[in-house]
């Protein structure tokens, strides 16, 4: 085989060939192969809407937070007019990262290499991120350097959804609302206060960041709707009882009369790739706490929320865990937290976790939640520790030449999907074991990775062929 043959065969890799949704089989190559990873970085991450950070991390003019969008470092900034921007964190002259700080406050990013400086002060430049100062401007460039053309690369599309800052590099991408679709109900529960007050949440200071030797999709898939792993993976933490009810009670704080974590908890799978491990009809009241005053506080919040949402005709369910395509996962209940799986390589991921709290939460509620979040989630969290063991060693044991020949099995609930009242969505037929969400996620994933254009991506998502299949199946059964 010649180099040309190799290159030609490399060009012929199609993600859709590695995904067999009909039979519920997915090739291991998509979790370990470097070429697939490169296709993801080129075709998926620069085109999808990605979660960058929370607006409460940059409350004041000049505040910035350093983040990543796929393979690119970015700065989330707030200008003197209060608007949030996302800028590529790389000098236009020689590419140096203009800021290596995780967060801070400045009205100007000055590159250490040659001191090109970029202002986010609207009184000095037209648009935040524009080039402001260039050493030897007159003598080296005869004053001819077009500063307006050489500002920090600005992300063209930024959307603030109740404090969640999303961005995409693709000017052709649909609006955020269209990208999220009906999945927004889960984002609402994430961002609205526990008493239903819209958008009245913020993040605790301190984003957990850690490296794992796993493909990023293991992380997205885990929160997308994989409740099947809980009983085995999290047996040890469940035996301890770290939740609101104290020792011997469930870690998520379900009340005993709720029938546990699973009853009625059919999953919701969106043709757009998003997925949630529950549904909007599944109303899970706030927990009963070991401390009566906390139960009282949350009971009052639940009552206020239920009254408000019912009056507005809004559903009470939808707390996740859930994943918004491609790599933002979250839980909107207990705990309430956002995760992003940043791709580093095919077999390495940097995981970030933010923790959400009501702006109006009294000190004792805030402190209880903070401690609960830390003992639950993140690398020190008694739940999440065991997830990383799985993701890392699943990745490792899938890299072998022989292992790669054998696909993973995604056949749970195959051909047994259920209709949903939500357009563009179906449900699993089983509360715990259902892989319909993952099948839809990887189908959407392959459409992006194969670089289908936006008209085609939009067309494919506009008709959920799974709905027709369910109707056909039900007619045949009748």
């Amino acid at each position: 085989m010649t180099i040309e043959d190799l290159e030609r065969s490399a060009e012929q890799i199609r993600a859709s060939d590695l995904i067999d949704i009909e039979s519920g089989q997915i090739s291991r190559e998509i979790f370990v192969d470097d070429r697939i990873h490169k296709m993801e970085l080129e075709n998926l991450f620069p085109r999808a809407w990605l979660f960058v950070g929370h607006a409460s991390q940059v409350p004041n003019a000049g505040d910035f937070f350093s983040s990543w969008m796929g393979s690119d470092p970015v700065l989330m900034t707030r200008d003197d007019k209060g608007e949030v921007f996302v800028l590529l964190n790389s000098c236009r002259h020689r590419g140096m990262r203009v800021s290596r700080y995780d967060e801070g406050n400045t009205m100007q990013f000055t590159c250490p290499y040659h001191a090109w400086s970029y202002s986010i002060d609207g009184s000095l430049v037209d648009v935040p991120g524009d080039l402001h100062g260039v050493p030897h401007m007159k003598s080296a460039y005869q004053g001819m350097l077009d500063k307006a053309k050489w500002g920090l690369v600005r992300c063209p599309r930024v959307h603030n959804y109740k404090g969640l800052i999303f961005a995409t590099w693709d000017p052709e991408a649909p609006d955020f609302e269209e990208y999220a679709g009906e999945f927004h109900w889960w984002l609402d529960n994430l961002t609205d206060a526990f008493d239903g007050t819209e958008g009245e949440t913020e993040v605790f200071r301190g984003v957990m960041k850690w490296r794992i030797k796993s493909n990023w999709k293991f992380v997205s898939e885990n929160f997308l709707g994989d409740t099947y792993h809980g009983a085995s993976t999290h047996a040890s933490v469940e035996a301890v009882g770290i939740g609101p009810g104290g020792r011997g009670k469930r870690r998520h704080g379900e009340r005993q009369n709720q029938g546990g974590f699973s009853k009625g908890r059919m999953k919701t799978s969106f043709r757009l790739g998003h997925g949630a491990s529950d549904n909007l009809a599944y109303e899970l009241p706030y927990p009963e706490f070991a401390e009566p005053e906390l139960t009282e506080y949350f009971d009052a919040a639940w009552a206020k929320r239920a009254e408000k949402l019912r009056a507005e005709g809004r559903p009470l369910g939808g707390r996740g865990p859930a994943t918004m395509f491609p790599n933002m996962s979250f839980s909107a209940g207990f705990p309430r937290t956002i995760l992003v799986a940043h791709p580093i390589s095919a077999t390495e991921t940097e995981v970030w976790r933010w923790f959400i709290v009501d702006k109006s939460a009294p000190d004792h509620v805030r402190e209880w939640l903070r401690q609960y979040y830390m003992r639950y989630a993140g690398p020190g969290g008694m739940t999440e520790q065991d997830d990383m063991e799985n993701w890392d060693y699943a990745t490792q044991a899938s890299t072998g030449v022989v292992a790669r020949r054998f696909p993973y099995n995604y056949q749970q609930g195959l051909g047994r999907e259920q209709l949903s009242e939500l357009p563009g969505a179906v449900h699993s037929d089983h509360a715990i074991a259902g892989e319909v969400n993952a099948r839809a996620f990887y189908r959407r994933w392959s459409e992006f990775v194969d670089n289908l254009d936006w008209p085609e991506l939009t067309r494919r998502a506009s008709v959920d062929d799974r709905v027709d299949a369910i109707i056909g199946r039900e007619a045949a059964e009748a």
Binding site: D102, G104, W210, A235, V237, A239, M374, G378, P379, M382
Partner: protein, 186 residues
């Protein structure tokens, strides 16, 4: 006779010999405690923690020079830390480690706690404020190896003939944690 054996009186100006004796005794205590952890003798180890024990590992951030004192680490008691918890939560972790189905530590990791640079910062018996450096080495399965290194402050309390740890704060020298998890006590 050393001042420590005199019990509750404040050692306002210990003699060099008294200080050396106390330093030796406390060092030996910390080494013994590390041995108990590394040998996974958790029940005995928990006995060395006071009931009001507080375990904190703030997160570290890259911030500007001028902001280091104020913002370089997350605040215990208010912001997100790797750990910031009372003894009760530490006991939960021990319970989890002893289930035999805690997959992050099954098979168990090989762990060595190295404690060094020990200094007695403040002696006000029955309590002593100790600063030291830690190097926690973990190896598990085959090639999975973590080095957790940083500064540590312990507040020890004289209880009978022995000591107990009542406050432990560790500053890990990493901003992005390079270990996949913290399923061991740092």
């Amino acid at each position: 006779m050393t001042a420590t054996q005199e019990g509750t009186t404040e050692m306002t100006s210990p003699t060099p010999m008294e200080r050396m004796a106390l330093h030796y005794e406390i060092s030996d205590f910390l080494f013994r405690e590390a041995d108990l952890l590394d040998e996974r003798r958790y029940t005995e180890w928990l006995d060395l923690l006071a009931d009001d024990y507080q375990y904190s590992v703030p997160m570290r951030m890259n911030v500007k020079y001028d902001d280091v004192a104020r913002l370089e680490q997350t605040r215990e008691g208010a912001e997100v830390c790797w750990f910031d918890e009372p003894k009760d939560t530490v006991e939960m972790r021990v319970t989890q480690l002893e289930t035999g189905v805690h997959w992050a530590e099954e098979p168990v990791s090989r762990v060595s706690h190295l404690v060094t640079n020990i200094r007695l910062d403040e002696i006000s018996l029955p309590e002593v404020e100790v600063s030291c450096r830690f190097l926690v080495y973990r190896n598990r399965v085959a090639d999975e190896t973590d080095f957790l290194v940083g500064r540590r402050r312990d507040r020890l309390r004289r209880v009978g003939d022995d000591w107990q740890v009542c406050r432990r704060t560790l500053l890990l020298d990493q901003s992005v944690l390079l270990a996949k998890n913290l399923s061991i006590f740092v």
